[in-house]
């Protein structure tokens, strides 16, 4: 049976308070007050579509053997690299073998649903299990509606042939060059057309046609749909399309607008991952991706759990309100702040060295001495063990998914950081090995000797002279254990 084997998600910790954004713009665009409800997920300066996709993938693959993944597909309209495969970086961060396929998908906000549909067709055709990721960190013009509506997050869905949580019944695609908005190459911001036209001529006509065709193909009546997942960020549109198709109003999934925001092409996959948390065996789910046409996917839940990690609810629960709109602007390069001369340090990367060290840098793979068991990072020719200078005995030893505890730390206000003070220090992995590294997503109270940490793939620095993003791992508080038990208790 082909379908969804597992789902995962990632939501950055900070939640920009919409009220703060609207208040800042009230002098210029008082109409934005109407959108100033709740909060939207706001990634840190050191997160992008790649790092968020990595975290969602790890969430999805919790307790699963990563060797089963035969292909990674990364959908996004906000990938950091135009020519250097972004999915390939995710593959390295997940420390998968080189014998996996990888593909970036973009071009429209339909990309997430399209990628999922294609992954399912590929699985049907015998491609093996495909990890389908969708991740967005879109820029929005200050004082635009998008600035308030958008969110930043990533979803991960592992599809394949086997014991699935949701069977893929079928799908349908249409392609229509309906320009509700566009963004040209090299541009930061969208240019959009009138919403009434988008609603009446776009969603209301293009989506129902595709949905009806899909349902007819798989032989499901519209009124039998239990979960209708469409992520239109326009008010009332999801309900109107459902109604036009004959789908029950109660089947329409709440789009998480007030707690997450519209995460672009990742939104249908986020909502699907969220829906599968509570879908009962036999329930029918319809997923709609809209943008330059429409993709529709129909699933039937089997009752088998899809989530092994935190999932959407778990990540949403890890939150900190961010009332500072200036921080959002500065982190997104929308407010040129004085960074000081320390920010001028050349961040040039030697591609030769990066390639040689890719397992250490992207995969956080250290070494373990086959003779003494000494664990170290990075792996070296000569063991670091004080009592046994073994040569050539280090074997690959992945550290990224091992827990650690803080040994030393500081909060540095001198060194350049976009999130001062920069917390960093030594952490010691529970099963051996230590790392001096930067900490992320921390408050002062989190950082004490002995505090439990886990690793997260983040941006280390940006080489602004050559427009190259450098990635490495940082330690974050290990909220996972607590969050998992809290979820289980619910």
């Amino acid at each position: 049976m082909v379908g969804i084997i597992a789902v995962g998600a990632y939501v950055p910790r900070l939640r920009l308070q919409r009220q703060a954004v609207a208040a800042a713009h009230a002098w210029f665009a008082p109409g934005l007050r109407g959108l100033a409800k709740g909060e939207r997920a706001m990634s840190s300066w050191d997160e992008d579509a790649i790092t968020m996709a990595v975290e969602a993938a790890r969430d999805c693959l919790t307790d699963l053997d990563r060797g089963r993944v035969k292909k990674i597909v990364l959908a996004s309209t906000s990938l950091p690299f135009v020519d250097r495969q972004n999915a390939g970086i995710v593959k390295e961060a997940l420390n998968l073998g080189d014998d996996v396929g990888s593909l970036d998908v973009g071009g429209s906000l339909r990309a997430g649903a399209s990628a999922l549909l294609d992954a399912l067709y590929a699985a049907k055709g015998g491609a093996g299990e495909v990890l389908c990721l969708a991740s967005e960190k879109r820029k929005a013009t200050p004082a635009s509606e998008q600035e308030l509506i958008n969110g930043e997050a990533a979803a991960a869905i592992l599809v394949g042939d086997g014991e699935v949580a949701a069977e893929f019944l079928g799908g349908h695609s249409t392609s229509v060059d309906f320009v509700d908005h566009y963004r040209s190459d090299g541009q930061d911001f969208d240019y959009g057309w009138e919403q009434r036209w988008i609603r009446d001529e776009g969603y209301s006509k293009i989506a129902p046609a595709a949905i009806k065709a899909a349902l007819a193909k798989v032989g499901v009546f519209a009124d039998a749909v239990d979960r209708f997942i469409m992520a239109a960020p326009l008010k009332g549109v999801n309900d109107a399309v459902a109604k036009a198709c004959g789908v029950k109003p109660e089947a329409v999934m709440e789009p998480l607008a007030e707690v997450l925001g519209d995460v672009g092409c990742a939104q249908p996959l986020m909502l699907l991952a969220h829906a599968l948390d509570s879908a009962k065996a036999g329930q029918t789910l319809v997923v709609v991706g809209f943008g330059s046409g429409c993709d529709v996917l129909v699933f039937r839940a089997t009752g088998k759990p899809a989530r092994n990690g935190l999932g959407v609810a778990g990540w949403l629960a890890r939150r900190k309100a961010e009332p500072n709109y200036f921080k959002y602007l500065a982190w997104n390069g929308l407010l040129p702040i004085e960074k000081g001369m320390r920010a001028e340090a050349d961040q040039k990367t030697a591609m030769t060295a990066l390639y040689r060290s890719r397992k250490a840098v992207f995969g956080l793979v250290g070494g373990k001495c086959s003779k003494t068991g000494t664990v170290q990072f990075p792996k070296t020719d000569v063991s670091v063990a004080q009592n046994d200078r073994a040569v050539g005995t280090q074997e690959d030893y992945p550290l990224a998914d091992r827990k650690a505890a803080i040994l030393t730390y500081t909060a540095d206000r001198l060194t350049y950081s976009m999130d001062p003070p920069l917390y960093y220090g030594a952490i010691e992995f529970d099963e051996g090995g230590r790392l001096f590294c930067e900490f992320a997503d921390v408050d002062a109270d989190d950082v004490v000797v002995g505090a439990s940490m886990r690793m997260m793939f983040r941006i280390k620095a940006v080489d602004e002279m050559r427009d190259f993003t450098k990635y490495f791992w940082k330690a974050v508080p290990d909220y996972r254990a607590a969050a998992t038990s809290a979820l289980a208790a619910e």
Partner: protein
């Protein structure tokens, strides 16, 4: 079996430029300033110098590559000049090169010169620089205070010291050095401060405040060394000789291995033990008259007192608060103001420490002269960060001590 360096080399003369924000001076000017004093003290002619060792640490804003800048600045007679760099321990490293050259018999008289021009960066603190291709991909983007501040977190956790007690001891370290620096005409910072000032200063890297950090200075210091026999032949009577010179470099155990808890300097303990043995010091607390240690940050000085066996482990903060290392204490530390106030022109610092010990031993330290005549003086010069460093310990003393 090597017999060590004890008493095989004497200091013929030393010199030190005025440290500070020397907006008026290039590295060349600073070197000449130190060298003219040194040459006069030595009583020799430049043509008698057989070889030179030249220490600088920060190339990007300093003299540039090779030993040539020293040769040019002083117009040395085309002798060998070796440039050395070993982080902030470079100055002692240059001294070691010159001393070893004389001890080997390869040359009669050798020069060690250290210089650093740090105040051409345009900002406070040390220049940001690469730490190597691999480190830059996987290392934390920390500053010097941030790296050393971590000692405090680990020290508190290990010894159960409260943040307030440790911070107060750290403040005492700085108050003491400011008091000493105020008496030193060549010091960068010459104002006394109060404990309250130190405690309430702006935070740089928790728990290090502004006054927990040493001065970033321009400066130069140098030494001319020869055998005791040659020194005597040149008419010197009161000789200061080298008793021990030890350097220990981290091999990565602290940063990559297991067992180091972050609260002390592994290398300093090794270098100190070897230096005491080389110098024949069996009871450092009784035999070492005074110390100049690498007080880049107050917490560094504090834990170094333990690493040099001058305090029991976990007790240095009590000894500091009790005044054991004050100018009039049991074993004065930084009687010249230390890195904290004399200043820290990286490549010169190790030589500046020896310069002060040399003056104190000869009773030439002026207003700040230690009352009880010292016989053995130790300098400790550290480069890098607690988790990865080079530690140098030099002991000099009166001939016969």
């Amino acid at each position: 079996m090597a017999s060590g360096i004890k008493d095989r080399v004497a200091i013929l003369g030393m010199g030190c430029a005025r440290f500070g924000e020397r907006w008026d001076a290039d590295a060349d000017n600073l070197m000449v300033e130190a060298f003219e004093e040194c040459l006069k003290d030595s009583g020799i002619d430049v043509s008698q110098i057989g070889a030179a060792w030249f220490s600088v640490a920060f190339d990007a804003v300093n003299v540039g590559p090779s030993g040539i800048p020293l040769s040019m600045a002083l117009r040395l007679p085309n002798i060998a000049v070796t440039k050395v760099e070993n982080y902030c321990a470079s100055g002692t490293e240059a001294f070691r090169g010159a001393v070893y050259a004389v001890a080997s018999g390869a040359c009669d008289i050798a020069l060690a010169m250290g210089v650093e021009k740090l105040k051409d960066t345009g900002y406070g603190g040390l220049p940001v620089r690469t730490k190597g291709t691999t480190y830059d991909m996987i290392g934390a983007a920390g500053s010097a205070p941030g790296n050393f501040a971590q000692l405090a977190a680990a020290y508190r956790a290990k010894h159960g010291v409260s943040p307030n007690d440790l911070k107060r001891a750290m403040a005492h370290v700085s108050v003491k050095s400011h008091a000493n620096g105020a008496k030193n005409p060549k010091a960068h910072l010459r104002k006394a401060i109060t404990e309250d000032q130190a405690l309430n200063a702006p935070m740089i890297a928790e728990p290090l405040g502004l006054f927990d950090c040493c001065g970033v200075s321009d400066g130069a210091a140098c030494a001319i060394v020869c055998t005791p026999e040659i020194a005597k032949a040149l008419g010197k009577s009161d000789l200061v000789t080298v008793k021990a010179l030890q350097v220990s470099a981290s091999n990565g155990w602290e940063i990559q291995g297991s067992g180091w808890d972050g609260s002390y300097f592994h290398t300093t303990r090794i270098a100190a033990a070897k230096a005491y043995q080389e110098a024949g010091v069996t009871d450092p607390r009784a035999q070492i008259s005074l110390t100049e240690v690498h007080d880049c940050f107050s917490i560094t000085e504090l834990v170094t007192m333990e690493d040099l066996s001058l305090s029991d482990e976990g007790q240095a903060y009590r000894d500091v608060l009790a005044g054991k290392f004050d100018a009039d204490g049991e074993i004065p530390c930084q009687i010249d103001g230390g890195l904290k106030c004399f200043g820290h022109p990286i490549g010169a610092s190790g030589l500046r420490m020896i310069y002060e010990n040399y003056l104190q031993l000869l009773g030439r330290a002026g207003e700040r002269q230690r009352k009880e005549p010292p016989s053995l003086a130790l300098s400790h010069n550290l480069g890098g960060a607690p988790n990865l460093n080079v530690s140098a310990v030099a002991i000099v003393g009166l001939q016969g001590a």
